[in-house]
Subunit: 142 residues, 4 copies
């Protein structure tokens, strides 16, 4: 891994919200990130299922990592999430975010959250970022 990639990964790993939640980075490469999360009782909603906010947040953590993986500051603009399957405490969730395309200052991503035990799709999102002129991981070509 290059020095630049090491810097980028260190920056992404220092995410306070991801660490407070207990999300664990499994894979990070340009345009792609995968995280896992063990669902606990504190992550449930009043119907006893995993809270939609937790499912979204895990996907959003992967999305932020994938979209910032080039070292350029990318901020979320729009996320459309469809919830497919409910899960419960004890579930192992996996979130994957993949770059679909970059066009000018924008980037489009596909996010999938699945249940590792059953292999079933839990939620899927289509999401866009706006890429700022700032770089946090050393500018491309430096």
């Amino acid at each position: 891994m290059s020095t630049q990639q090491t810097q980028i990964e260190a920056h992404i790993l220092a995410d306070p919200c991801a660490n407070a939640l207990g999300a664990r980075l499994v894979e990070l490469r340009p345009g792609y990130a995968r995280y896992t999360l063990a669902v606990t009782a504190a992550m449930l909603n009043f119907h006893g299922m995993t809270h939609g906010g937790v499912v979204f947040t895990l996907g959003d953590i992967a999305f932020a990592a994938a979209s910032n993986s080039h070292g350029q500051v990318a901020v979320a603009q729009n996320v459309n999430i469809t919830f497919v399957q409910a899960t419960q405490a004890g579930a192992q969730l996996v979130a994957e975010a993949s770059e679909v395309t970059l066009n000018g200052p924008f980037g489009l991503y596909d996010i999938r959250v699945t249940d590792a035990n059953t292999g079933q799709l839990v939620a899927r999102s289509q999401a866009t970022v706006y890429r700022k002129k700032a770089w946090f991981g050393g500018q491309k070509g430096e």
Copy 2:
């Protein structure tokens, strides 16, 4: 407040995720809910701003309360969130969810998260639920 409304509010107030996050219910009535949240350092992302997952989750908590406010079990199907303005630790966020329309088993909601100090819009969502046949708060008309 009727016995049924008291039961519904007690059910909604027992949301483990909302309580773990520190979201506070301010107002609940049929088709509408408002919550507040004080943003802490643990809720930030790796750019030092409030994590998109936290903003979404606060809105989702209000959405769940508004859409379940009739006592009928409603589950989120789709949420489209647009992020408008970044906020930082110390911000006081307010989330409001309002019913736009109910049509058959579906319900459509508008969600707004604002910064209480500046009055500025932080994020806005359009969201849908599927209303199940089950009731948790005493069936309408009972």
Copy 3:
């Protein structure tokens, strides 16, 4: 109406797609537009209802007018449409697009399509534009 507003309205009224469809501009002011459309047999889908593409297009025509109403070139980035109610041939549809907020190069809009005869909501969208540096109607302040 100022000369600038007259230029803007003339530009918007020359939309080939809106004119080919038969959409009629009813009201245009900064940040807002309203159009009507009479649904014909050629606008139906294979289930005999108004095609989702027609409902979307009418809303999109109003959205384009509202978001370009300042004279600055605005291009659609994302539109999230929820279909609420089916309509049939002979229906009179009304589309309204309203500016929710402008933030930097972005703009957020609310779009509603209703059935003029019943007053019912047919579809509702949340939509964003990217505002370019180019102006087609004379720059603001000129």
Copy 4:
């Protein structure tokens, strides 16, 4: 092709809106459809680019075909479209809709519109349907 599949395809091919627009069905199989469209001057917006409504409609035609390809009546509930690249008169657009998953009465689809000449992505959507109890092409298992 079975008798049932022939009936389904005939039903889908009789779409008045798709035929009025000039969209051409290229491929149809369970859970998948592909259509093409030649962009004409009447399909442009007031900036001289292909109208967003036309891009959406082509994708929606493919989505309707893919989601109704099993013979069960499916109606669109929500479509989130992200516009990636503008095109002009003379462009050959291709729309593909693919089933991501079916869960209970719901179905989730991925829609891509591309420019056949450049191979570039023009728009991408995530879309859901509600599947009714009615069948138009002979019930599964009959």
